[in-house]
């Protein structure tokens, strides 16, 4: 699935980018074999103290948050009537689908026996388990995203009638997608509610599920803007005029929304500290780090988005979206790794093995390669000529 197109490209196009991609894919394939023949002990720095590493902290938590653009954009356009951002739906849904797909792939590296992933549905249901909810929602939402994405693939393949049936389901799928996203984005945060003694009090809060859900909206909006800028630069030849015309309006509109949501998030974070009366921790080292996150990656992007919107400065909005995306990555890593197990001595703390980092780089590369393939082949950044002015 992954090596074929790249090797073919490598032969025809020996560009530095393609060579690096090929090297990453080969290295990733080798470590994949090691992981599934030698076990987690040989390829990771995971331990009994730190059973969750970057494959959970980055690949899963960050991956799911950054894939939120799918539900945020489709809800804005189909449910809340923001039709002028319609051209952003397909790239956002594609990113969402690929994001979740890669999350599930990453999860199969991390769990001990990936072939038992369907067990929660068939053999051991646990309705009081947080992980059961996560498993159920991710599986269902991946299906929803697949269906939401499928019209583009069906137009490409020429299955007209099936495509028309699925586009009729758009509204139902969008509503279902928002429900499932609300549930599992928040339940990923709720997983950490179970470890009050391990997560630093500044990050631990009974509001964690709400924080995770609200930050997923910020991540979704920011990723759509970030990606629109990148696509505009790298896939300009694939874009139709509507897409190009709507791009600046999209950036301005989403920047305004993201600025508001960031401001709201800032306020509930302050409420969280007040509710648990954790002010005294701010004077510690972890407190300084917490303030870096809260001021530098929440308050600052909120202000910059507002300025960018007010002055119609697309470049500023573009860089702010990158800052906000970094902020989401930082937040998820803080909760899952940096502020987690803060009570342990440094010798028992976790730092990723190079092979773990390599697999993460590998999976991101695979995701981007598939994205490139789909965007080049399928009607994502332009409307298919047979289906113009359709409502999807």
């Amino acid at each position: 699935m992954t090596d074929e197109p790249t090797i073919a490209e490598g032969r025809s196009l020996m560009t530095p980018g393609n060579v690096i991609t090929a090297i990453i894919l080969v290295a990733g394939a080798i470590i994949t074999v090691l992981r599934f023949t030698q076990g987690l002990g040989a390829t990771t720095n995971l331990s009994d103290y730190n059973p969750w590493g970057i494959w959970i902290g980055f690949d899963l938590l960050v991956g799911v948050a950054l894939a939120a653009g799918g539900y945020v954009t489709s809800a804005a356009v189909y449910l809340f009537g923001m039709k002028r951002y319609h051209s952003a739906v397909r790239p956002a849904v594609l990113t969402g689908f690929l994001g979740y797909f890669m999350v599930v792939i990453a999860l199969s590296y991390d769990v001990g026996r990936p072939w038992r992933l369907p067990y929660p549905f068939a053999i051991q249901q646990g309705t009081t388990s947080m992980l059961f909810e996560v498993a159920l929602c991710v599986a269902l939402y991946l299906t929803v995203l697949f269906l939401e994405f499928s019209p583009a693939a069906l137009e490409w393949l020429g299955f007209r009638s099936l495509r028309n049936i699925i586009t009729k389901l758009t509204i139902v799928l969008t509503i279902f997608g928002v429900v499932l996203s609300t549930l599992h984005q928040s339940s990923l945060g709720a997983l950490f509610l179970l470890a009050p003694s391990k997560l630093h009090p500044l990050w631990y809060s009974s509001y964690l599920p709400v924080y995770f859900f609200i930050t997923s909206i910020i991540a979704g909006l920011s990723m759509v803007m970030f990606e629109a800028s990148l696509s505009y630069r790298f896939f300009s030849d694939k874009m139709d005029q509507t897409h190009k015309d709507e791009k600046n309006g999209l950036m301005l509109g989403f920047a305004k929304a993201a600025s508001f949501v960031l401001a709201g998030y800032f306020i509930i974070k302050v409420f969280g500290i007040s509710a648990d009366n954790n002010w005294h921790y701010l004077a510690t080292g972890y407190g300084a780090w917490f303030l870096v996150e809260l001021l530098g990656f929440v308050a600052l992007p909120s202000v910059l988005y507002a300025i960018g919107r007010r002055e119609k400065n697309i470049t500023l909005i573009k860089w702010t979206s990158a800052l906000a995306v970094l902020g989401i990555i930082l937040n998820r890593l803080n909760v899952s790794l940096i502020a987690f197990n803060w009570h342990l001595p440094s010798t028992d703390r976790y730092f990723p093995h190079w092979m773990e980092i390599m697999i993460t780089v590998f999976l991101v590369t695979v995701g981007i390669t598939i994205f490139r393939f789909v965007v080049t082949k399928m009607p994502i950044l332009y409307e298919h000529k047979d289906y113009r002015t359709s409502t999807h």
Partner: protein, 202 residues
């Protein structure tokens, strides 16, 4: 493993295909044969005791009562995180022997109970709210379209009316002009007819 505040469960990191998460079963196979757990059986000073939780708690309280100077007045595990099946007595503070004293008495499952109880509410109410938002926007769109249509028809009608009025005026004007012309022609003809008569009478 993440949730256990005592860091008890371990994982078979060396196994590639059949790793398991493991923890002490208190020698379940021995217990079912009526024996004591291995560690209790082999402890020569009876520092470890095995029995029903209620009995053990009673023994622990008796020991603390008998030797209040030796034991700290606390049974670790009686209430921590809802109570555990391992109970400890100690002559020194529990944190000194590696036990977390700030765990609270709430069972771990209660920390997520609130979030989980919100699930059915979200499943039930989100679709209602979202369908409502969709319907409101759809209706607003419909109204906007019909208003636009009405405005267009009204302006067409208005244009038509003014056009008709103008036409009417123009027609009347033309009619009047024609009438005048006819009148003039008649007058002229009459005048022409009268002239020769006058000449004749002269």
């Amino acid at each position: 493993m993440v949730a256990c505040p005592f860091e008890i469960p371990t994982y078979e990191y060396h196994k590639a295909l059949t790793p398991r998460v493991r923890k002490c079963t208190l020698c379940h196979p021995r217990i079912s044969r009526g024996l004591l757990p291995g560690c209790v059986d082999s402890c020569p000073t009876e520092a470890l005791l095995f029995g029903k939780r209620t009995d053990l708690l009673k023994i622990a309280r008796e020991r603390i009562g008998e030797k209040p100077d030796v034991y700290i007045d606390h049974i670790y595990g009686e209430k921590e995180m809802g109570g555990t099946s391992w109970l400890y007595l100690a002559g020194t503070s529990f944190s000194k022997i590696g036990l977390n004293e700030n765990l609270g008495t709430k069972p771990a499952i209660e920390y997520t109970a609130g979030t989980l109880s919100a699930v059915p509410i979200i499943v039930g109410l989100w679709p209602v709210f979202l369908t409502g938002a969709y319907a409101m926007n759809k209706r607003r769109e419909k109204i906007a379209i019909s208003e636009q249509e009405a405005a267009v028809t009204a302006s067409i009608e208005a244009t038509n009316e003014t056009a008709a009025e103008k036409l009417d005026i123009a027609l009347k004007k033309a009619e009047r002009l024609k009438k005048k012309e006819i009148d003039n022609a008649v007058k002229k003809a009459l005048a022409e007819v009268q002239q020769p008569d006058d000449e004749k009478t002269e």
